[in-house]
Symmetry: C2
Subunit: 424 residues, 2 copies
């Protein structure tokens, strides 16, 4: 039986889950995959953590060279997180001809091409299913399941932390600050939550997924990125009343005009399959030219779900003699030819405070009309001497909305409190 | 660039979709997959169909030998349907060392092992993603996406025809007969609808999927199979009123006690992700020991969705030098050791007609109590001298329900009109 030696760099949440899955399933993989996968060594300085996981002293390495030079190690799992150190470590082991499996979305989004070159030069594999959407095999699906399709669009909830916060705000009417504090208490959000709540995490993942889907390089810097820190319980409640749920969506679309990639909060109709993806769950909704609509739904984070993706990559690599690159290899659209769209089409939700005087509504309507924005729904509620006006538009263009907002805020009649996109 | 020649046997719905995808995407696959896939020949006697698809005369073969002996053909797509002729054709081309891609679930459910032996002997590949759940890459997911997991259970809506019929009955209150006639008019159901409505199609698919999920052979004859021909609009409406939707479910579970595999109509809570899978859509809900819950949702049939699965298999086979078997190869649980359970746990919906007399309800309750069945919900509605009683039980055992039904029907007090399983 084929023997495969694995090293794990970093035994935090994901590294620890990977260790547990590999050690508990060793016999299972012998019978079902005809491969004996053994954890040959780990690199983890925290002795308490090593003890907690029951890691034998004999397999604890002291530095990366010990791992890179270990002839019994074929595959190295990178779970140390961060970027610069991880990059150095990964390059070290690729130079040694060892296959790398990583869950590090920032590393892949920033340095994939450099890592792939190193991997190919040394005939090593490079796998990163676990970097996007936890246990959901979205990368395998893009590469080996729907690669017969031109992917037209992709829309997903790909960050569990923000989805937890927005779900809590929706279901319990809590403020953003209270929901964030609760997420931190439960370990769903970091002490410094910016990577999640400002949309960086989702932007890295969207860069990776859209690059694979569209067969080109989509730098994360090209992703329009807006986080959820400005979201209010009031807007969530007003949207709910109109039949919408607020989600942090990652959206990628490809058309003859170009490519649009964006991460921002958006309302979706409550009947949409993504509306019911709640808490820490994730989902990706794809549209292909042959397969039509396809949705994958599952756990987007956690030790065992993300470990499941890592170990699936390990088994995939272990049972093949040729290294496969989860790859952006054949640039159907070389980056230089890609046109990134910034003025995309969307519907919009707007909340305005208006002076409750005769004729104000007709003036507001006129501003919308002049910008060719047509109104789908309108709800006015009185509040002492002012009124709150909630407007949902038909599909229009980002630039038209920006023009209308500038015009409204420049007038005496209304103040635009919130603008949120609406996805149909 | 690597060149791959494809032959298509049968240009019906799926074969035609495959032809269209391959011819329209040839340049796309050159740039994105670095492979030139060309349709070298087709076997289709219907000249009108050949003309409709614009197939050049030069590539029309006249018999299977012409295909099997064509040195430019590397991969043969079997879309002729049926079983015996398809088996002969597939064996012919496998003997010629050509890889086979098929959408034929009945063929795979009945003859997989014979075909796999032939494939291996001649170093040919054997792929059948398109045989289950149309364009949804469920087989790729089981084999290459979640193979790190012990799969605990699988529950799916895997037949589009019956889902269309049940959706129509649910949404419009139509009878089974009227919904079937409409499905036939729209081409969603065959003139002889038995394969779908009696659950054979779903049972073949469940045999294939559960064999892959549980790493053993699950013969389709072991699948408990009940169709939807006995389903009434009345029960659907009464279930709806209690918050349930009726679906034809395919269920497979594995535990220390054994394996249960069954296809039957069942009520699911309307909040369950499967409840909102309507019309011709399909979905599979998996539970793995590491990944947790995972759902795949998409189009379960149709020319292009199913063609998408076939062409994805073609590309998968084309870009690898070793043939991969979508395989039951390593029998962790050799068939002889598999214990198939028939007395499984479930909740139940029952509709009874009762004589509306004092004390009847307590007698009925006593019969349930004696069989250790506890009642979750009960709804009695009067109808002239009789009454209709709808009961939903807590989880109990199939055998307990059978005993209670026999006792009730043997009594003077009630007649059991319907028993349906309820999945939580």
């Amino acid at each position: 039986m084929k023997k495969v030696g694995v090293a794990i760099l970093g035994l935090g949440v994901v590294g620890g889950g990977t260790y547990r899955i590999l050690t508990e399933h060793r016999e299972f993989y012998k019978t079902t995959q005809a491969v004996d996968v053994n954890v040959e060594c780990v690199l983890e300085p925290n002795r308490d953590r090593l003890q907690e996981l029951g890691v034998p002293d004999a397999i604890v390495a002291h530095n990366i060279a010990e791992v890179a030079c270990n002839p019994d190690v074929n595959i190295v799992v990178e779970c140390i997180g961060g970027v610069e150190a991880a990059r150095d470590y990964v390059l070290d082991v690729l130079y040694g001809g060892k296959t790398v499996v990583t869950s590090n979305k920032e590393l892949i989004a920033k340095y994939y091409h450099e890592l792939e070159r190193a991997a190919k030069r040394h005939n090593a594999g490079l796998y990163f299913e676990a970097s996007c959407v936890g246990g959901v095999p979205i990368i395998r699906t893009l590469l080996d399941g729907v690669h017969s399709n031109k992917i037209l669009s992709m829309m997903g909830i790909i960050n569990g932390t923000t989805n937890y916060i927005l779900t809590k705000m929706t279901e319990e009417g809590t403020s953003y600050e209270a929901a964030l504090a609760e997420a931190q208490r439960l370990g769903y959000a970091e002490a410094d939550p910016d990577a999640d709540v400002e949309g960086f995490d989702a932007a890295y993942k969207l860069s990776v997924l859209s690059s694979l889907a569209f067969h080109t390089k989509i730098p994360y810097t090209k992703v329009l990125r807006e986080g959820i820190t400005g979201v209010t319980a009031e807007d969530i409640a007003r949207g709910n009343a109109l039949g919408y749920r607020l989600k942090l969506l990652a959206i990628a679309k490809q058309s003859d005009e170009g490519i649009e990639v964006r991460v921002h909060p958006a309302f979706v109709k409550k009947e949409h399959p993504l509306a019911s993806v709640s808490g820490c769950n994730n989902a990706v909704f794809l549209s292909g030219d042959s397969v039509g609509d396809l949705m994958l739904y599952g756990k987007g984070a956690g030790d065992l779900p993300t470990g499941s993706a890592i170990v699936s990559d390990i088994l995939y690599a272990s049972t093949r003699t040729e290294p496969r690159y989860s790859t952006f290899k054949n640039n159907a659209n070389p980056e230089k030819d890609v046109k990134f769209l910034t003025d995309f089409a969307s519907a919009y939700y707007m909340r305005l405070t208006v002076n409750d005087k005769t004729g104000v509504l007709s003036k507001i309507a006129a501003i919308f009309g002049k910008n060719n924005i047509s109104i789908l729904e309108l709800l006015q509620t009185p509040e002492s001497d002012k009124a709150t006006l909630v407007i949902v538009t038909h599909e229009t263009h980002e630039q038209a909305i920006k023009n209308a907002v500038a015009k409204l805020n420049g007038s005496e009649i209304a103040k635009v409190e919130t603008v949120l996109r609406v996805v149909s």
